[in-house]
Symmetry: C2
Subunit: 263 residues, 2 copies
DNA sequence: CGGCATTTTGACAATCGTCAATCAGTGTGG
DNA sequence: CCACACTGATTGACGATTGTCAAAATGCCG
């Protein structure tokens, strides 16, 4: 079984054999975790990270009124909580959504990787930036999009993210997420998620087969969701000696911010 | 006039004179920018960063239907777009909300700061983590909180962030944000923001005096908003040689994720 | 004073949540 | 093999929150 983190990073970076070996060795401490179990509870101190090898997990908070808010999904290849070395106090819980295989990476190993493997260091920073970009996209979807487009968008996002680790075909993937797990991620009720699913099925935008999600026409779903995968930054491969483009620094855009809401 | 970035970092880190001088020199290229002007337009390539010295700015996107989504506020001391060295393509615009004084920091200078000033490097990573924490908090507020609590929360957040750069008193600050700028940040309509403001005023939770916001009883507003400032990570000062706590790596929380929505 | 941007208000409609009942699938034990 | 329990999905009825539209009011600045 190949390591999904390596697969994901190799979508974008050229790793050396040394890099690959280091990453392999970093993820040797593996645990099988059942569905709906916490890896980190809110308030825990953590030094180290969890790498998802199989299954779906999430970062979430439970509010005082008992409702749950999921702020990130983790799929194979994703790393939860890379940041033990800067902020030690964790303000969110991390839990599994389906049965998972999780690799435990101690903080010491992470610091070794980022100190001694410059390409890995660079790639892990890229991972952080992509995570932040996903967060911003979720915020946009939640704030300014209808429920159906929002859900369609997240289904497209999962398609692309899973394709990067070879867990999705061109138009389908295993979907072990309950409707309430989706509801807590998009800020809707489980009932409304069910209703949205129904309309998406009726419009033949999605279809369920057992626990698998099938997308009859990916382009049509992407168009409906206004999904543009560029924010995931998964396409172009960069040479290992991470070259930086340097444009004239100090350039200022001159566009005017205005005309919002006008046709 | 003292540099607000230095003020903010000194809330949490001990900077040396060298660090301070380096940061001062990094922010010498200053521009006065009028309200509602873009610093970076969507799609621009950027290498370098903008440091807000005075005024309010934001990161935003305009959706195909013309609506605007604001995903971050920038107040004095905040840095927009630190990441020219990793992701060159920018997928959001950055624009001013009020007249601003902005320092332009070329990417070259940033790389010099992070390479040669370890405390600054550490502090800037901390800035990134706080930004991500704010993003998650906004997502939670938007997804699972009523409009009035959400708005109260963001007002509390701004209070604390502005206090860190000495731009807020114990219970008031200058508030140059239009209601529609708030609406686009919290995912509501400007009309509804107006209604929420009215109820908050009626309950004596907030008050406006000219363009200043006054909070008669900060603890009451914080309680109402369920605001806990810990996610901003502004309180404790850490020694310059950023010590890391090391707890037993490999510890696993044993909590069970369940009972959501049950009283 | 006049013009402009912003806020406020009211009326109405659409979206979405809540509650409760039902249905479907899955696994367990007798 | 079937009854049973359990979890999750679905449906309907109803209500609350919030959006939209349009008009009026307010405040600011020349």
């Amino acid at each position: 079984m190949s390591n999904p983190l390596i697969q994901k990073l190799e979508q974008r970076f050229f790793l050396s054999d040394l890099d690959r070996r280091a990453l392999e060795q970093a993820s040797t401490c593996v645990q099988q975790v059942p569905a709906r179990q916490d890896l980190i509870a809110e308030g825990d101190e953590s030094d180290g990270a969890y790498l998802v090898l199989e299954g779906f997990a999430c970062r979430y908070t439970v509010l005082p009124d008992g409702s749950r808010s999921i702020v990130a999904y983790f799929v194979p290849g994703d790393i939860c909580d890379l940041h033990g070395s800067v902020l030690t106090e964790v303000d969110h819980a991390i839990g599994t959504l389906s049965p998972c295989k999780i690799a435990l990476i101690p903080g010491e190993i992470i610091r070794d990787l980022t100190s001694n493997y410059p390409i890995i260091d660079h790639a892990l920073r890229w991972v952080d930036l992509v995570d932040a970009a996903i967060l911003r996209k979720w915020l946009i979807n939640m704030g300014r999009r209808s429920a159906d487009k929002q859900i369609a968008h997240i289904l497209c996002e999962l398609l692309v993210r899973l394709q990067a680790v070879y867990l999705a075909t061109d138009n389908s993937y295993d979907f072990p997420i309950r409707q309430i797990d989706l509801a807590d991620a998009v800020g809707l009720s489980n009932v409304h998620v069910s209703r949205v699913f129904k309309t998406l099925r009726n419009d033949d935008l999605i279809g369920f087969e057992g626990r698998g999600l099938r997308i009859p026409n990916v382009e049509r779903l992407k168009a409906f969701a206004e999904f543009n995968p560029s924010y995931l930054h998964l396409e172009p491969k960069q040479p290992g000696n991470y070259n930086r483009k340097r444009s004239g620094a100090g350039r200022r855009g001159r566009g005017i911010q205005g005309g919002h809401r006008d046709p």
